[in-house]
Structures are given as C-alpha cells and as structure tokens.
Subunit: 108 residues, 2 copies
DNA sequence: TCCTGATAAGTAGATTGGCTACATGTTGCC
DNA sequence: GGCAACATGTAGCCAATCTACTTATCAGGA
C-alpha cells in the first residue's frame, strides 16, 4: 500500500481505535496492525506526531503513567474527538462512493 | 471532502475515465464530476499537472487537435497505463479493507 | 459593441502530513 | 553481554494537491 494513500484517512482510524478504550501510543500501533490484518504497520515517526496533532486539535486527551518501569502516555477520546470520529466515518462513506463511482472496481 | 483524502487515489481515477475512450483534460474533469455524482470537482491546477505527470510516467499518451477553434490535448491509456490501472484497482480494494477493518464504519 | 460564461490548457508557489533516520531508555531472555 | 520487544519522541525530506493566476476562443445576451 502506497504511503500517500493514507493521507487524511489516518486521523479517524486513530480515533477509532481509542473509541472503546483509552490506549497508549504503542498499543495504538498494535491495534491498528491487528485490525488491518497486518497491513497497517505505522512507523513511530508517523504515529507519535499524529497523536500530538490530534491532542493539540482537542480530539484526544493524554495522561502519563508508569507500568512495569516503562512510561506510557495514554490517550482517550474527548467529546470533540467523538464528533470528529463520527464525521470522519461519514466522510469515509462519501469518499468511498466517489472513488468507486469513478473506478468501477468490479471489472478488473 | 477534504483535499488530502484524494492523495494517491487520484491517479487510478484519472486512468479509469480514459480507459474506455481517449479524452482531453477538460472532458476528463467533466467525466470525474459526473461519475462522482458532482463530488469530485477538480481544480485545473490539480488535473493538468497530474496529466503531465502520468504522461511522463508512461501511463498516458497525448495528442493535440483543434476542435471548433479550440486546442485540445487528448490523452489515451498506454499498455503500461492499463497495468497501472489494474493494480490501482487492486490496491484500492486492499486500502478499503484496511480502512474499514479499523474504522468499522457500520456503527455511527 | 461589450460583457459574461463556458470551453480549453497551463504555471508558480504554498501547504502539509506521512516518511526515513535518528536518539533515548527500560525489561526480560538467551 | 547482547538482542528483541517495549515505549516515546524529534528533525528534516518529499511529493501531491491546492489556491491563485494567466492566456485564449466562442456563443449569447444586454
């Protein structure tokens, strides 16, 4: 999968994995990897800046903790983040319809 | 629809609309607009550079003509372009599966 | 005649987000 | 001792899309 393809779609995906429970960065990476069937293996240089961006924007809130001697920053969805996620899902449906309307992916 | 969302997805869409018949730039814009149900209204500053890029890459070939006093550059798919389109469609299916695996867009 | 909107093609420069590569430190296992 | 997994982060690169602009023809209405 090409890198750019993700552009603009990563944010809602990150919000989606912390929807049900707060997670720290590393766990978010693992969750994305798992939910995507091993396809979405984000480099840390992508994920961590994205998390900070989402926090700055008010969609995530974070909290430090220490587990087994390791420091974790755990992120949870804010109410603004919930709205953002909902509209992100909606936008995805629109986007998908646009691409498939043009691409007609049925016929290879 | 956000601008970045298109990143990396535009190329196969352009190739798709010239698959069945060669078209000139302006007609490609109209075709994209129509196939997307009015959603995909590309600025010329996006489309024309993209077409040149795709031609440089060998996926499109162009030819000038004059119709009704207006100059047109008509693009058609090369065989490399056909392969690219096929793999682009395949990649789209993968991408869609990844996003939906993570997003679970069913539950709003 | 003049103006506007549709047709047609293009360039210059800004933006931006995901990438590579690097830096730091812990824990547990061989 | 050394390596893999865990855990977080920064600096700087790159490329595709965008905004804003330019040029030109043609048709139709005021």
């Amino acid at each position: 999968m090409k890198a750019d393809a993700l552009r603009g779609h990563l944010d809602p995906m990150i919000l989606a994995v912390v929807e049900s429970e707060p997670l720290h960065g590393y766990a978010i990476m693992e969750a994305l990897l798992e939910r995507s069937g091993g396809e979405l293996d984000l480099p840390t240089g992508t994920l961590y800046p994205a998390l900070r961006r989402l926090e700055r924007a008010g969609y995530l809130a974070s909290e430090w903790s220490t587990v087994g001697g390791r420091k974790r920053r755990t992120y949870q969805l804010t109410s603004a983040g919930q709205k953002m996620l909902a509209s992100g899902k909606q936008e995805w449906l629109t986007f998908r319809a646009v691409v498939e309307g043009v691409l007609r992916p049925g016929q290879a």
